[in-house]
């Protein structure tokens, strides 16, 4: 795991009246324990990867409480696990990334929502929307609406988030409905404080087993039960939820002096709204506002009684709702119309952008427009124009492969292979390897979803006169790729080529364990090999390559392109995630050095006097430590390539120089630390040549 939470998990033990200082996502975990969950699970993905990491690091504490922790195979598995709360009064929670995870989970979520729950069921959704996001931009709100699950969107401060987790379970039980809690990425990582309560044990749990299974056909998703379930949703669960939300005042009204104007916002938008009002001189630093605000900590369902009452004396209200379509704005329009409250003009997406993250700036711009105060904005606009005049456009810096990443050489090999075979179509997948679509590689034509690389290739492969290529990570393989891609491809006798990036971890999300990880924590079974799984589903052509041997990888790629073998050809590209490798290696090397043991440190380099500054090596690598510097030759102008500190000596530089016949400028240096007697003697012998006639002196 990329980050250890061994220290932070101590916070989960806090009792009544103590103060928690820490990250939002850790606070959510604590709130789950305060709510007495019996089981937790999920699937990693920013921004809720840390939930899984924290849970795994907190196994002792959770075991004491009798809480079961499952690292689910994927989001569908996580959502399905909530089935435990259908028949039994036990609380459970799962976490995953939305909307991609919600997409995967939606089959199970539909069934869960239809059957309804006895024990509280909570889905924590990490919203990866806006700046720095790595996924498609969609709303979770739609899932809540279609399955009629309640969607909480708390104000982003820790006491409120914790309170909403606790209330979420109560709401779930009061209305027999699973509840979703959406947390935007910044809220997940917000650092704050709240006063804790002690953890609760669950009535039934690993420690107090359920006595008798409970059979109730009414909870099965088969007609006629499903018809009854839909009716129950509308007639019983919805009204119960509305009643609970009203009674417990989950939504908040902040009164203000400007009584004919108002703002309706999602809970998650509240802080941005207050800040905007503050900048416009309409609120103070503590949230006392002149413009009344209705803050929807429950984004779905809307409570018409509350919204209509809020709008009653207002001429204009602005809905601040992030994402599109504008579900809340539309619902508010409808609610007012139904209540015949036609005097309030509802604004929203006419003042604010339809899509994109609602940052402080965006909300400020929208609210100033709504309140006719554009002055603040003009100053900012001027600032930006001035900067652009002075700077032009500065180069973008998207994320990319780490130093020495084992996936980089595979893409270099693809470029080398393409020279011989001509360009081929490549179906990409989700994972660190998606970075290959960026410069310098620009490899990968489509991305269709996690683990779906091979499935997405099945039609396009038949449309070319030659073979196409598919990429899948080991994360995607275990998530669903083995069945949806590989088994299916074998079954249909497809003739594709699949490259499985076997780096050993779910690296993009923070190097979590996978079934095929090289080593496992105690709670996981080891010895689940990709190779055996492939043999098991009948793949007849499997080659394993060492990623860093670019020439060999290119050769195997070419072989796969040209072999007579008909059927799926799988190339397992092996190379351990460099982040994990270095994490393991560093202490070992440090120990060796401190003990005075002989240690070889490898670093690559470029001879500046033979480098002509054409940078073809960089176009085939993109390694952060392979960069450029001013040309030291007074006659040359273009910068030369150079390898800076931090090179882990992965060897790609030398391999590329060979495989692509780049140039002779690269060298590999082996620094012998704590040299032995033999090293020293050899060194002496070599140095004996120094200053002799055959040794060029300058």
């Amino acid at each position: 795991m990329e980050r250890s939470f061994k220290k932070e998990v101590e916070l989960l033990k806090l009792g009544d009246g103590e103060t928690f200082h820490g990250e939002g996502i850790l606070a959510v975990t604590k709130a789950l324990l305060q709510s007495g969950v019996a089981y937790v699970g999920g699937y990693q993905g920013a921004p809720v990867s840390h939930v899984m990491d924290v849970l795994n690091d907190a196994r002792d504490i959770l075991d004491d409480l009798g809480v079961h922790v499952e690292t689910n195979a994927n989001e569908a598995g996580a959502a399905a696990m909530l089935g435990a709360s259908i028949n039994y009064p036990i609380r459970g929670a799962v976490a995953f990334k939305s909307t991609v995870g919600t997409n995967v989970a939606s089959d199970a979520l539909s069934n869960l929502a239809s059957a309804g729950v006895r024990g509280g069921a909570l889905v924590v959704l990490g919203e990866d929307y806006g700046e720095g996001s790595s996924i498609i931009q969609e709303r979770s709100h739609a899932f809540a609406m279609k399955s009629q699950m309640w969607l909480l969107d708390p104000r982003p401060n820790l006491p409120k988030i914790v309170e909403m987790v606790e209330k979420g379970f109560e709401l779930s039980e009061a209305s027999n409905t699973p509840v979703m809690l959406e947390l935007r990425i910044r809220a997940c990582h917000v650092h704050g404080t709240f006063t804790t309560k002690k953890n609760l044990g669950s009535k039934n749990s690993k420690k107090n087993p359920i006595a008798e299974p409970d059979f109730d056909f009414g909870r099965i998703s088969l007609p006629p039960a499903t018809y009854a379930q839909e009716k129950h949703k509308i007639e019983v669960r919805w009204p119960a939820a509305v009643a609970f939300i009203r009674k417990n005042k989950l939504n908040e009204v902040f009164a203000g002096a400007m009584s004919d104007t108002g703002i309706v916002c999602q809970g998650g938008m509240y802080n941005a709204v207050i800040r905007a009002l503050q900048l416009l001189g309409l609120a103070d630093a503590f949230g006392a506002t002149r413009v009344p605000i209705y803050c929807m900590n429950v984004a779905y369902p809307m409570i018409p009684e509350e919204t209509v009452a809020f709008c009653a004396d207002k001429k204009r209200v602005l809905v601040v709702e992030e994402g599109q379509p504008a579900f809340i704005e539309d619902a508010l329009q409808a609610a007012l119309r139904r209540a015949d409250a036609n005097l309030t003009k509802v604004h929203g997406k006419d003042m604010l952008p339809l899509g994109g993250e609602y940052t402080g700036e965006v909300v400020l711009t929208g609210i100033s427009r709504f309140l006719n105060r554009d002055v603040e904005i003009n100053a900012v606009k001027k600032l930006k124009t001035r900067a652009t005049e002075l700077l032009g456009t500065v180069p973008a810096r998207p994320p990319g492969f780490c130093v020495g990443c084992p996936e980089r050489p595979v893409f270099a090999a693809m470029k080398v292979a393409e020279k011989a075979t001509g360009a081929f179509h490549i179906s990409a997948d989700i994972g660190c390897h998606t970075f290959a679509t960026l410069p310098p590689f620009n490899i990968g034509h489509t991305v269709l979803g996690y683990g779906l690389g091979l499935a997405s290739n099945s039609a396009v492969d038949t449309m070319f006169g030659k073979r196409t290529l598919t990429i899948m990570g080991d994360g995607g393989f275990w998530h669903n790729g083995l069945t949806s891609g590989i088994a299916n491809s074998v079954f249909n006798k497809d003739d594709g080529i699949l490259v499985i990036m076997k780096n050993g971890y779910s690296s993009a999300t923070g190097t979590q364990e996978l079934p095929s990880s090289p080593q496992h924590s105690e709670s996981k079974s080891d010895d689940m090999a990709i190779e055996r799984a492939l043999a098991g589903v009948g793949v007849g052509w499997v080659k394993t390559v060492d990623n860093y041997r670019v020439g060999d990888v290119a050769k195997v790629l070419k072989d796969a392109m040209s072999t007579e073998y008909k059927g799926l050809k799988v190339i397992i590209a092996e190379g351990e995630c460099q982040l994990e490798r270095q994490r393991k290696l560093r202490p070992v090397v440090a120990k060796q050095l401190s003990e005075g043991k002989r240690t070889i440190k490898v670093k690559y380099g470029v001879d500046e006097d033979t480098c002509t500054g054409d940078h073809s090596c960089i176009r085939l690598s993109g390694c952060p430590t392979l960069t450029i510097k001013d040309n030291p030759d007074p006659l040359r102008r273009d910068p030369v390539a150079t390898v800076i500190d931090g090179c882990v000596g992965c060897g790609l530089c030398g391999e590329n120089a060979h495989a692509a016949v780049l140039c002779p400028s690269f060298y590999r240096a082996e620094i012998i630390q704590n040299p032995g007697f033999f090293d020293k003697a050899l060194n002496k012998l070599r140095n004996a040549f120094r200053g002799t006639t055959i040794h060029q002196r300058n």
Binding site: P47, E131, G132, S134, R186, H189, V190, N271, A272, R275, L279, A285, G360, E361, V380, L383, K384, L391, V394, P395, A396, R397, P399, G400, F401, C402, E418, F435, P439, P440, G551, K603, D609, T610, G613, D614, H615, S616, I618, R619, D630, P634, L635, P639, L662, C663, P664, Y667, R668, A669, E670, I672, Q673, P675, D679, R686, I694, H695, Q696, N698
Partner: protein, 486 residues
């Protein structure tokens, strides 16, 4: 007491893996020490994989008792124009912050390290794709209320720590942070491991920002020769070293025509000519790789300490081209045309890992360097001299018409770069360009012609592999079509 009416806002722009998160933790801790409410957020997602990312903090400079139960509402995103302290761990990130409006002359203290970590898009250009650093520095001085700009990475290295400690020190030293120095140092100490080194970094950053120490000057970039006298001197020196005095005389002879020509034209022609005449063949490479100075440089570059032996392994992959380049002209020519016709130019390369620091490896490579006296009889030598003469003649011809045009023709020599396939492609581009735009120009207007040459040259440099990837060798690259041949 009058409570402050807003929090102090701090935006930190960093690259993944630079310890921006640790710095945010220090700030939160130090705020807690001072009794100030504070909040931090970040968007670690995939951006932490070497990309640009930000951390945002708000600190309310009033103690909990002063606040008397009131809770400030903190924002989770920075808003342009409203940042008090803008921190950038790298220069372009400071530029990005300014572009996004986060640096306000009335409010913002800009603290940024002036070192560069080049973005892939800058590094991968065939020529020089680097963003001009001085623009960012100038913009910073103009746009910030207070700008603290110096190479903090260097300072961090000197203090044996990471850059975040120096940045944190500079923040505290700038006076813009409402936190005491003691609280900041205490926060670092509380962080445990590496605290001593971090404190050293903190102090050095603090002292410079507070004006107790002068701002360190970055070392001047290596000098470029631009004046004709100096270029001639360097050229003679290089070519004497390359092939002896007679060869240097040839250089002088070739430059004679340009002596009284336009200054810029003569110096650039001399520069390109010297570089071209010292073309990198296998003999030259072998020579450069076996010099004592080279081994010293390698030791320095890889940071080997006194007494630590360094084994140097070179990656050579000679093939038909390299062999042919050494053969007598008629043989070499035949071999090359044979290989070209069969597309076998790259087919028989032998990849060698040569331990040049070892006795045998050294002797092997050195023995190639000893072929120097043979060079003038080799195939490559004759080919290169022919091309040089052709090019030089075209430059001279153009010089009669317009020095500006001649300069463009001269500059075309920049296309000849690299080794193996890169060199082949560069050469093909060079020849195609000379053919289409110099020998058979579509226009008689020298300004137009010069412009067309520049454009074509820049296009060829911008995306060297991309355009040629699918196409066969020597095929006109796409830009030639636009120019059209008469």
């Amino acid at each position: 007491m009058n409570l402050p009416d807003r929090p102090i806002t701090i935006l930190i722009a960093a690259l993944g893996g630079e310890g921006g998160g640790v710095m945010a933790d220090w700030l939160i801790d130090a705020s807690a020490q001072c009794g100030f409410p504070a909040q931090s957020t970040s968007i670690p997602g995939v951006a932490q994989r070497t990309g640009a990312t930000t951390y945002y903090l708000e600190v309310f400079p009033a103690t909990v008792s002063q606040l008397n139960g009131r809770q400030p509402v903190f924002s989770l995103t920075a808003s342009p124009g409203n940042v008090d302290i803008m921190v950038a761990s790298e220069l372009i990130e400071a530029g990005r912050a300014m572009q996004n409006g986060f640096v306000n002359p009335e409010r913002t203290t800009l603290i940024a390290s002036t070192h560069r970590i080049y973005a892939t898009i800058e590094k991968m250009q065939m020529a020089d794709g680097r963003f001009d650093s001085s623009r960012v520095v100038d913009a910073g001085r103009q746009l910030a209320k207070q700008a603290i700009l110096f190479d903090m990475r260097k300072l961090a290295e000197d203090s044996g720590t990471v850059i975040n400690a120096v940045l944190f020190g500079a923040m505290a030293g700038s006076g813009a942070l409402p936190l005491t120095r003691e609280a900041c140092e205490q926060a670092i100490r509380g962080g445990g491991r590496g605290a001593e080194a971090s404190l050293r970094g903190f102090t050095s950053g603090f002292d410079i920002a507070a004006g107790a120490h002068p701002t360190p000057q970055s070392p001047a970039p290596p000098k470029h020769a631009s004046e004709i006298g100096e270029i001639m001197r360097l050229g003679i020196e290089r070519l004497t070293d390359y092939q002896g005095a007679a060869y240097a005389d040839l250089f002088l002879e070739r430059m004679k025509f340009f002596q009284d020509k336009d200054k810029k034209l003569s110096s650039e022609t001399a520069r390109h000519l010297a570089l071209w005449m010292a073309y990198e063949d296998i003999i030259r490479v072998a020579d450069l790789k076996t010099r004592a100075s080279r081994f010293e440089r390698v030791r320095k570059e890889v940071g080997a300490k006194e007494g630590e032996p360094v084994v140097v392994i070179d990656f050579l992959k000679p093939g038909i081209e390299e062999l042919a380049s050494l053969l007598p002209h008629f043989l070499g020519k035949r071999l090359i045309s044979w290989a070209q016709a069969r597309g076998k130019l790259d087919a028989y390369n032998i990849g060698m890992h040569i331990k040049t620091s070892g006795v045998f490896g050294y002797l092997m490579v050195r023995s190639l360097a000893w072929l120097k006296p043979w060079r003038p009889h080799s195939f490559r030598y004759q080919e290169e001299q022919e091309m040089i003469e052709h090019w030089l003649a075209r430059v001279a011809e153009a010089a009669q018409r317009s020095p500006a045009l001649a300069l463009e023709v001269a500059q075309c020599a920049t296309l000849l770069k690299g080794y193996g396939e890169t060199h082949r492609r560069g050469k093909a581009n060079f020849l195609a360009l000379m053919d289409a735009l110099v020998d058979n120009p579509a226009t008689a207007d020298t300004v137009e012609q010069a412009g067309a040459i520049r454009k074509a040259r820049e296009a060829a440099l911008a995306d060297p592999e991309g355009k040629a990837l699918g196409g066969a060798l020597g095929k006109p690259v796409t830009w030639l079509k636009q120019v059209g041949r008469t």
